[in-house]
Symmetry: C4
Subunit: 233 residues, 4 copies
């Protein structure tokens, strides 16, 4: 796969992911008659199902990261060449903002609007640490012995994490930045984004270090396994 094709896959996949997260949040809130749990159930269903599909579709092309935390961890493990990291991250961030705009167009919202949804404090940051620690644990754990399950495992994990973390599990720096530009159900105040991203990167780092010890065979062969198989081998 040429680098250009992989960047398009990362960008388009992240755009669709954000369209799903933001769009289903708007739809859920509009229809749920004020019951936030029902809105979040709809948001969860759409995000979990969508993630499985996006990793199945784009995983064979680019690895299906859609997430700078995953890209960095992959490069740290020797999977993605470090020189390709900036391109991947740029494609993810640009794609994420385009996805937000696409969703806003569908629901007749302004293309971008700074969110006023407050998400701050140590409990929220701890939630993001746990959420991203769990996400990377799932990726490294499944890649080790059953790589064909990664897409399903990631979708199921995020479905659970929407509910068991107090922050509804952003677990993704590109997603966090783009959701700051959406004053809707899924939004986050721009000022609250940086600590979220720091907590996410720490969680990703901790899980990667732990699984390097827990299942060493992954680390040794990561360069072969991840590039070719991450997502949907």
């Amino acid at each position: 796969m040429s680098f250009r094709r992989r960047l398009v896959a990362e960008g388009l996949g992240t755009a669709l992911l954000l369209a799903i997260v933001v769009g289903s949040g708007i739809m859920g809130e509009r229809l749920a008659d004020g019951n936030v749990a029902i809105a979040l159930l709809a948001n969860t269903l759409a995000t979990g199902a969508g993630l499985v599909v996006l990793i199945l579709v784009f995983g064979p092309v680019s690895g299906g990261h859609f997430n700078p935390a995953v890209t960095l961890a992959d490069a740290w493990e020797g999977g993605l060449p470090r020189a390709e990291v900036p391109g991947y991250v740029a494609a993810q961030v640009i794609g994420a903002f385009l996805g937000v705009a696409a969703a806003h167009l569908m629901f007749q919202e302004p293309l971008f609007s700074a969110s006023m949804h407050i998400r701050t404090g140590p409990s929220q940051w701890w939630s993001e640490f746990v959420a991203t620690f769990g996400l990377l644990s799932v990726i490294w754990g499944c890649l080790r012995s059953r790589p064909e399950t990664v897409a399903f495992a990631v979708g199921l994990y995020i479905s659970a994490a929407y509910w068991f973390t107090a922050s509804t599990s952003f677990a993704n720096p590109a997603v966090t930045l783009a959701r700051a530009a959406s004053d809707t159900f899924a939004g986050i105040r721009p000022v609250d984004a940086p600590p979220f991203i720091i907590a996410q990167l720490l969680g990703a780092f901790a899980a990667t270090a732990l699984f390097r010890w827990l299942t060493p065979s992954v680390s040794e062969h990561a360069d072969e396994v991840v590039v070719r198989h991450d997502g949907a081998p």
Copy 2:
């Protein structure tokens, strides 16, 4: 498989799909006590689960298209012989109307009734473009490397698309026509159907062109892969 058997499979599968979409819409609305989100959750669950099953069951016989946009894209890629396209589309449309009638009979509604559900405007058309672009991306993307996942991926994708598009993702010209004949939860005004269908065909065309570039190996072998394996190989 003889052409006659494949036409019966396309017709029966599309009929069951419409019975599921329309029937579960009626049931959801009747039971949901006015909460539209709960009705749509039920509608989503039934449609997503039903699609997976129908593609598993009829895919090995006819490809499990149930959708003129898929049939046209498949023929364009060199899968289905062009001479068979009219037969497929006719079977899908006839099956779709029979499925609507079957659902109406179960729920004591008139066999057919023109819908009065307004679904119009650029946001709705953009939603249908995105919805069908996504559907064809899922089909071409999964067929490339993991064809055995297509049935699951399509069901999961439509479950997400019911929520992340403002139109609840018709994404299918035969379904659109038949839902115009159902003045129930799932209906669409007959006058609103043509722009929906145009947007769907444009979305299908865009995704097919993109994946021809993004994953060229699919296109080259599409004639072999699609006819035998689309859906449930």
Copy 3:
């Protein structure tokens, strides 16, 4: 597998199926605060998930029928020896009643109680015909080319059928009889049971005849395929 072991598997599996259907109906209704759609969503989730698991667990032992309509269709296709049909059906019916009693014990209801839930009229009977026609189509269709998907397909199909049929899809004579002995959410008046059962058997017969023509290879090898592989090969 000895006949005795297979009878225990059919009986225990059907008992657990009824415990799931009746128990989750009671729980759903008690917690849903009068919103029937929410109660039925819970009932659907439990039944669909439970069916997949029960077919995976008991399918390799007995075929995982849990349903006289499936047993009769299987014998008609030359799968199960006809002499074993009465034993299978008896085990299913006895198991079904035991399962209802087990659920009633969990929820502090009387062991058995005649249901007063009215379910009658041509729309309901047509619904049961469609529901069982669909169920047998799913079984024969999946067995033909991807038998390892039968358990998942049946669970997903019934999840959809709870919503797209007006009768909430009993689709099973043993289940129908036992639910007549439960005056709870899932019940059916004893007097309404016989027409349900007739409609179910007609639907099962129609689907089996259709798939004998549509996918003849299944019929020819049914004796080998079904006995060993139905459910979870």
Copy 4:
């Protein structure tokens, strides 16, 4: 896999399981506006999805028990060496309490707090017997012929069992103890825990004895199958 690594896997997996169960219970109750069925639907979704993922991730390392009842049954069948049972159980119990604390931190609750949620009486105990009998039946039944489905089957089974048992299916002594330390949606009074645990162990014993007779091939090879393959082979 070294014993130390397996203990870390059991402890971390059980911690994440409890964080999921308790965290999603708190989130569900806070958002559901007093509708307990909606809160339990969210709790079910998170727990079922989370269990599948945790068994996929940690199963290849430690077997993915997270449950003293499973560990004891496995040792009884000759799977886990008996000398390792105390270590496994200790890791599970310690992990469970850490997981409760992690969830409480995310949701700004005190680290631990004795639950006041009454769960007692013969119906509840019978529910726990049935719930754990079913869980062990699922594990032994799936291991026999399709071990790669165990993770999915366990997640689906618990999703059903949350609804069809009157106790919402604890089915796990370590989970029961730790939930006694959480005065939230998922809690149980400390005084109610011991009879729950006794019922769970009896249910696990009954299912293991039954499947030893029903599918003898499992028992004979259990020492090979379970240690290497339980969860995610």
